[in-house]
């Protein structure tokens, strides 16, 4: 192991010049003209909201104090990881907090888009404590994915899901976790499923909070298929279908754009902080369950993109790479295919963007834990952290969960 494998402590320290340049751009902002419908959420992020947030970002939002708070709450590090066919020494930024107690289960927390390590901030204390002997406890590792947050950006085409999975897996190995569990939603769902397919000897279990799945088919899961064909869905599951329909009809324009022409979009995200603000803000509201965002929270989520190492424009390329890397020869893994080797925990939240019936989720693999919630959306670790942490703890409990089977 050369100098390449060192683990260095890290503190976020955005240069003054970046903050100044942001403020200067915010001062020059030109907004679209007002009409009678520029505050109608159906058309996109409302003008009054964006104007208010721009004003706050420019005048009163205190990045330095937020930065200090993040550095205090989240123990952060960097290390360099080589990726086959890409950089030899990609700088990976990550949060790493070891449990206060022995017998901790190593847990990789994988964020998505437009998320970041901030998504682990509320559940970190809940997972690394372990108040009672019954409750499992975790060593939590939460990386900034390459091209996100304070990790390095990649420079070659083809850095897709396989490569993201490789980075996350190698990170866990680097930290001495030969075997580990995973937690994720959004890209975290897809990347951890890829890891379960590529590294089944290492991934002991995966907890998921965005569940995308095929309906059961007669050939693979006949009993589930019967339920599907007979339309035996609960009210919750029916509401879930409505949500999926909304996403497909109204909510996936960004996905289609990012999956086909990320570079064109990138010009807007790089040059206009207001473009970035609106682009992300719309999701933070549309994808959550009436979560009462504070302006500070919103601007922090967005600032992490604005101040990211690779630039906000780099983050959207993953959609392109994933969409085009579907063939096996390209390294594509079918994350919706049954994987019998990795037990799953499925937490369904009503305002997520895909809310599918339980019978569909069960086609992904052996389900060790399942819960359908009454509240929460796409970012449950931030919206309803206790509920999510509870699910994870129940899944990995020694009594009633799979904890006893795992040798930690």
């Amino acid at each position: 192991m050369g100098s390449n494998s060192k683990i260095e402590p890290y503190r976020i320290a955005v240069p003054d010049s970046m903050i100044d340049k942001l403020k200067k751009k915010l001062e020059l902002v030109t907004f679209p003209e007002e009409t009678s419908f520029t505050n109608d959420w159906n058309y996109g992020a409302p003008l009054d909201d964006i104007k208010r947030l721009t004003q706050t970002w420019k005048e009163t939002y205190d990045w330095r104090s937020v930065e200090a708070n993040l550095n205090e709450k989240l123990p952060q590090f960097t290390t360099r990881i080589g990726v086959e066919g890409h950089e030899d020494d990609l700088k990976i930024h990550f949060v790493h907090k070891k449990s206060e107690k022995p017998g901790a289960i190593p847990l990789l927390f994988c964020h998505g888009w437009p998320g970041s390590i901030i998504e682990v901030s509320k559940i970190l204390p809940l997972l690394t404590s372990g108040a009672t002997d019954d409750e499992p406890t975790f060593d939590v590792v939460a990386p900034s994915l390459p091209n996100f947050g304070f990790s390095q950006g990649t420079s070659k085409r083809g850095f897709g899901l396989r490569q993201q999975a490789e980075v996350c897996h190698k990170l866990m190995q680097r930290l001495g976790y030969g075997k580990y569990a995973t937690q994720g939603g959004d890209w975290g769902f897809i990347i951890t499923r890829t890891m379960g397919a590529l590294y089944p000897e290492h991934v002991v279990a995966s907890h998921l909070n965005l569940i995308v799945a095929h309906p059961p088919s007669l050939l693979s899961t006949p009993l589930l298929c019967l339920q599907y064909l007979l339309g035996w869905y609960t009210e919750q599951e029916k509401a879930g279908f409505q949500r999926v329909k909304w996403y497909n009809d109204e909510g996936n324009g960004y996905n289609r754009m990012q999956g086909t022409k990320p570079h064109t979009l990138g010009f807007a995200l790089a040059d206009s902080p207001v473009a970035l603000l609106a682009w992300v803000y719309e999701k933070l509201v549309d994808w959550t369950d009436a979560y009462e965002w504070t302006d500070e929270e919103l601007l922090t989520w967005i600032s992490i993109y604005a101040f990211s190492e690779a630039g906000a424009d780099a983050s959207v390329r993953l959609y392109y790479e994933a969409a085009h890397q579907t063939k096996k020869e390209d390294g594509g893994v079918d994350v919706l295919k049954w994987n019998g080797k990795v037990p799953l925990g499925l937490s369904y939240f009503p305002k997520d963007v895909f809310v599918l019936p339980s019978s569909w989720g069960r086609t992904l693999g052996p389900v060790a834990f399942e819960k359908r919630h009454e509240k929460g959306g796409h970012f449950p670790s931030f919206e309803v952290p206790e509920a999510l942490a509870d699910d994870i703890k129940k899944m990995f409990a020694k009594k009633g969960g799979i904890g006893a089977k795992l040798a930690f």
Binding site: L28, Y43, G44, T260, F267
Partner: protein, 412 residues
């Protein structure tokens, strides 16, 4: 007609200076190695164009050139909406029997697209050997130098109403249209709503569905039995490319135009990249000059309603925001329009390139021509082809000859 005033494009100095300031402060993304055009507009191109736009491009000169073509403005009001100042190009032929032709641009196009076909159609037709036309080429509401509505629901019906009222106001009780992209869609809306006035449409866009047996039995059988010719085969490949790789902008503009608008309004580089990508991808290796691109994008950047407004047309077409009955949606626009003569010019690098049997489900197709080259902005890329096709369709011996009462395009 006192309220039709001459119009001179005159962007104010402050706006010009603001553009240069923004360009000078532009922050560019980086780019993946060897991304080419696959992932979007290439960094080197956009950087070069942005620099040219900032340092060398002379808008005042472009403005002077644009203003050489006669332009006007007049208020047009749609039912239930406020009056909008509509900017338009208008040239009357010297030939008394000239056919009134309404040229309708699309997105990301504008009135300038008519410039290369204007003189051939209005002056090139002597009315003896070749038919002559009066040409009207407006800026659609929310585009170019026309105002935009402040009320939601300004959809296909309103665009058609605006166009029709403009032509009637100019004294043309019957007329024909030419267009692609939204020009095609709005022409279809005109054919549905105003067949009394809009007598024929020449289109360079194939927005049509395959024939269904119950609706068009003969076309359906023909479609099933006749193999696609080389143009149609190429069209399948091209249309598939558009569906899989080219529709991101459309999906976005159709659902969240407001969110997109912030970037288009605030960053000229964003506006440039957004449009330039289409100018490249949608044309047939057309050798765009930097000056050309800058003028094209400047018309969006300096537009009366602002660049963010132009994309709303996508949202309004798809969504029935006020619950109106018989909304002119895509299904309606692809339904048979009786009483209106249709003509199609097919260009291989357009976005939807459909078989002949498909476009014949739209109505009485009296003219159809296949071209070996050219793309989406046919009037700009292949003006001679458009002029020849329009002359052929409406001239003596053409399928739409004499379609407008009282004028044949020839000296009587």
């Amino acid at each position: 007609m006192v309220d039709i005033k001459p119009y001179t494009i005159a962007v104010d100095d402050h706006h010009l200076e603001d553009l240069k300031t923004r360009l000078s402060l532009a922050k560019f993304p980086d780019e993946l190695d060897q991304a080419g055009w696959d992932m979007g507009a290439p960094l080197a191109d956009v950087k070069r164009l942005a620099k040219y736009w900032q340092d060398s491009y002379d808008w005042r000169n472009a403005e002077k050139e644009l203003n050489k073509v006669p332009q006007f403005v007049t208020d047009i009001q749609c039912d239930g909406f406020e009056p909008l100042a509509i900017h338009f190009v208008h040239v009357r032929s010297k030939v008394q029997g000239a056919v009134p032709l309404l040229f309708i641009h699309g997105w990301p196009g504008h009135f300038e697209e008519v410039f290369r076909i204007l003189t051939p159609l209005t002056e090139g037709g002597d009315g003896i050997k070749l038919p002559a036309f009066d040409v009207v080429a407006p800026s659609l509401p929310n585009f170019g130098f026309s105002e935009g509505p402040k009320k939601r629901g300004f959809a296909m019906e309103q665009y058609a109403e605006t166009m029709n009222k403009l032509m009637l106001k100019l004294g043309y009780n019957e007329y024909v249209t030419q267009g692609g992209d939204w020009g095609c869609h709005i022409s279809r809306a005109l054919a549905h709503l105003y067949p009394k006035y809009c007598k024929a449409t020449h289109l360079n866009y194939d927005s049509a569905n395959p024939p269904e047996f119950l609706k068009n039995p003969i076309l359906s059988i023909q479609h099933a039995l006749t193999p696609y010719n080389p143009r149609e085969q190429h069209g399948v490949v091209r249309s598939k490319w558009f569906d899989q790789e080219g529709r991101g902008y459309s999906q976005l503009q159709t659902t969240k135009p407001q969110t997109l608008g912030y970037g288009l309004a605030d960053s000229p580089v964003a506006c440039l990249a957004w449009i330039y990508e289409k100018l490249h991808d949608w044309t047939d290796s057309y050798p765009w000059m930097d000056d050309e691109v800058c003028t094209w994008v400047s018309i969006y950047w300096f537009s009366t309603a602002g660049p963010a407004a132009s994309v709303r047309i996508y949202y309004e077409m798809i969504h029935n925001v006020d619950g109106r009955k018989d909304k002119i949606d895509q299904k309606k626009m692809r339904a048979w329009t009786p009483g209106v003569k249709l003509g199609f010019s097919h260009f291989p690098f357009d976005l939807q390139v459909r078989p002949s049997t498909w476009v014949r489900t739209l109505g009485n197709v009296v003219f159809e021509k296949e071209h070996n080259s050219g793309g989406h902005f046919a009037a700009w890329e292949r003006p001679d082809d458009i002029v020849n096709d329009v002359r052929e369709m409406f001239g003596k011996g053409g399928g739409a000859f004499g379609v407008v009462k009282g004028v044949t395009g020839y000296i009587s």
